[in-house]
């Protein structure tokens, strides 16, 4: 009898614990999703209802008017700019990173350790240190208000090379030797043997790069001067500067346009994306 009560007690306790844990997870998840919900409903509200006292959650006046307003203000060209810059930067980075990753993973050349240490050390240099001199350099290159500063200086990411080196190291040498015997050049080995094998890794890393460039703010903010060259994050931030009031209703419409592609891409490639994030951290 005593045994039964004890076991039911434990069972009750664990059921209680399970419910508590799930309630905790649900409330945290709601807190995580809340800002997106708020973004969406604000983008549908007229300006005077955004920070109305008392608060208005839904109203009859909601509609897509803010979207037509930001379309008139040129949101599509900014979306195209953001996409173009993110795409070009990602492709270029993936090419240089996989190439260098192959070099570090599969060749034992003099100076390799020193060069690799330089690569790792370069990751410590924060943006703040290069921001000003690099900006002055871009002025002298006449690259201000072009997309080149967003694509070229970061084209070979140290993190990406490290990532690719770890990835390519697991490819057996025999595979490469076989290709060499067949008379393939080193570049052909990269193209025909390495690239097909590392495609999953390239997707993981590419998703991280794409997201980083898409969301980048400070550097595009100082580089892109004319409105028609802006990216979406810069457009969101500068929509406030023009009038004395903060135009949340318009900012939220642009924000929805800015985050929707990322969320769709993330939901499709979620496994590859989290694999990329954790590969860098846990292996590093």
């Amino acid at each position: 009898m005593a045994v039964i009560t004890e076991s039911t007690l434990i069972k009750k306790k664990t059921v209680g614990k399970k419910i508590f844990v799930h309630l905790l997870l649900i409330s945290i998840s709601i807190f995580m999703i809340l800002p997106f919900f708020w973004m969406l409903i604000t983008s549908l509200k007229p300006m005077q209802e955004v920070l109305h006292v008392p608060m208005i959650l839904f109203s009859r006046n909601m509609g897509l008017f803010n979207y037509s307003d930001v379309i008139d203000r040129g949101v599509w060209i900014r979306l195209w700019n953001t996409f173009l810059v993110s795409f070009l930067a990602t492709v270029l980075r993936l090419f240089f990173c996989s190439l260098a990753g192959y070099g570090f993973a599969k060749f034992r050349f003099p100076g390799r350790n020193i060069l690799f240490s330089v690569l790792i050390a370069s990751m410590i240099v924060p943006l703040a240190v290069t921001l000003i001199p690099l900006y002055i350099m871009m002025v002298n290159f006449h690259w201000i208000d072009t997309f080149l500063p967003l694509i070229v200086p970061g084209a070979a990411s140290a993190f990406g090379i490290f990532f690719m080196r770890q990835y390519i190291r697991s490819i057996p040498d025999e595979l490469l030797d076989a290709a060499r015997i067949d008379g393939c050049s080193e570049f052909a080995i990269y193209g025909r043997v390495i690239l097909p094998i590392i495609t999953p890794g390239l997707i993981s890393l590419g998703l991280i790069f794409f997201m980083q460039v898409w969301n980048d703010f400070l550097w595009p903010l100082v580089i892109l001067k004319s409105p028609e060259h802006q990216t979406l994050p810069v457009m969101i931030a500068t929509l406030t500067g023009q009038a004395s009031t903060v135009m949340y209703h318009l900012q939220m419409a642009v924000s929805v346009i800015s985050i929707t592609p990322l969320i769709i891409i993330f939901l499709i490639f979620q496994r590859r994306f989290t694999a990329g994030i954790t590969f860098g951290a846990v292996k590093g």
């Binding site: 844990v21 905790l24 997870l25 945290i28 998840s29 995580m32 809340l34 800002p35 708020w38 973004m39 604000t42 955004v50 240089f96 190439l99 260098a100 070099g103 060749f107 050349f109 060069l115 330089v118 690569l119 370069s122 240099v125 924060p126 703040a128 240190v129 290069t130 921001l131 000003i132 001199p133 690099l134 350099m137 070229v152 200086p153 970061g154 070979a156 140290a158 080193e186 969301n215 703010f217 400070l218 994050p233 969101i236 931030a237 406030t240 500067g241 903060v246 949340y248 900012q251 642009v254 924000s255 985050i259 990322l262 969320i263 993330f266 989290t274 994030i277 954790t278 951290a281 846990v282």
Partner: protein, 296 residues
């Protein structure tokens, strides 16, 4: 030496493959860093000749209360969010790693989604939510009988607001990393400890935390660099009013560098700020490595 040269020749393709990084690194990192040292010893407003002034900028910097305020803010914000976020991420990872949790994928996705979204965009959402009048947070607080909070209007609450935004954005990222770390810990280790009579809290602090130390270190170092280099969060919450406000409570070193360079055009002074800032975070990262890295 001759043999070495032969090795170089044999591996010439490797040098070709890795060269893009070093070429770009030299042009866009090494050269600017050196140029920036020179710049920090001059007085230059963006146009005209650069006047050599020696250590003048550094002398000014040491006496500049705003600079020291920005460093202090970095520390304060770090302590406001890092312990809470790290512990919460670890606890959530342990919970999600438990077998009995249902909808594991759904929860993980929900927690992770803030990380992938545009910070400036959600920063402005938080600015609305935190608005003193008509904002959601205060509306909820007053409706359940609690006093309204002066979120972005009081120096301490402003820092709390920034921390809240950072925790929201980065909790899922840290949790996913810790989850991956947890999966490398053999499960029977924790199980055998609980059989030996340790309760789950004890098992957490005596087994999980020590084994997870490298991952925790990774996350804490990233957060250190992150809290001194905060920009997007501060910009979204405070720009078009007083950037870094109220009363400079949320100005970080990077925000100050931006202000000096791109609002006041004191490029040379901003360069000297960036050097002192770099030295400080380098020292902090090394201290943390020593502190956490001992006993290994």
């Amino acid at each position: 030496m001759k043999r070495n040269w032969g090795e170089v020749k044999k591996n010439k393709w490797a040098y070709v493959f890795i060269s893009p990084f070093y070429i770009l690194f030299a042009i866009f990192n090494i050269f600017p860093i050196i140029f920036s040292i020179y710049l920090s010893f001059t007085k230059w407003k963006g146009t005209g000749p650069k006047v050599f002034v020696g250590l003048e900028n550094y002398r000014r910097l040491i006496a500049d209360p705003v600079f020291w305020q920005s460093i202090r803010n970095g520390f304060i914000i770090f302590f406001l969010y890092v312990p809470i976020m790290t512990l919460l991420a670890l606890v959530l990872a342990v919970i999600l790693n438990a077998k009995f949790v249902r909808f594991f994928r759904v929860f993980r996705t929900m927690l992770f989604i803030p990380y992938i979204t545009t910070m400036v965009a959600v920063g402005y959402v938080f600015r609305m939510l935190l608005n003193a009048k008509g904002g959601l947070f205060n509306t909820v607080l007053t409706s359940i009988g609690l006093p309204a909070v002066p979120w972005m209007e009081n120096i301490w609450w402003a820092r709390v607001s920034i921390s809240l935004l950072i925790i929201w954005a980065w909790l899922g990222y840290n949790m996913v990393i810790m989850l991956a770390g947890l999966q490398t810990i053999p499960k029977d280790l924790v199980e055998s400890a609980t059989i030996d009579g340790a309760n789950q809290v004890q098992a957490f602090f005596h087994i999980t935390v020590p084994l997870m130390r490298p991952i925790i270190l990774f996350s804490v170092i990233l957060s250190t660099i992150g809290s001194f280099g905060l920009f997007n969060e501060v910009y979204a919450l405070t720009a078009s009013g007083q950037l870094g406000g109220p009363m400079r409570a949320t100005i970080t070193p990077l925000v100050y560098i931006y202000q000096q360079a791109f609002r006041n055009f004191n490029f040379s002074y901003a360069a000297s700020i960036s050097y002192v800032y770099f030295a400080i975070i380098l020292i902090l990262a090394l201290l943390q490595l020593r502190y956490f890295g001992r006993e290994d």
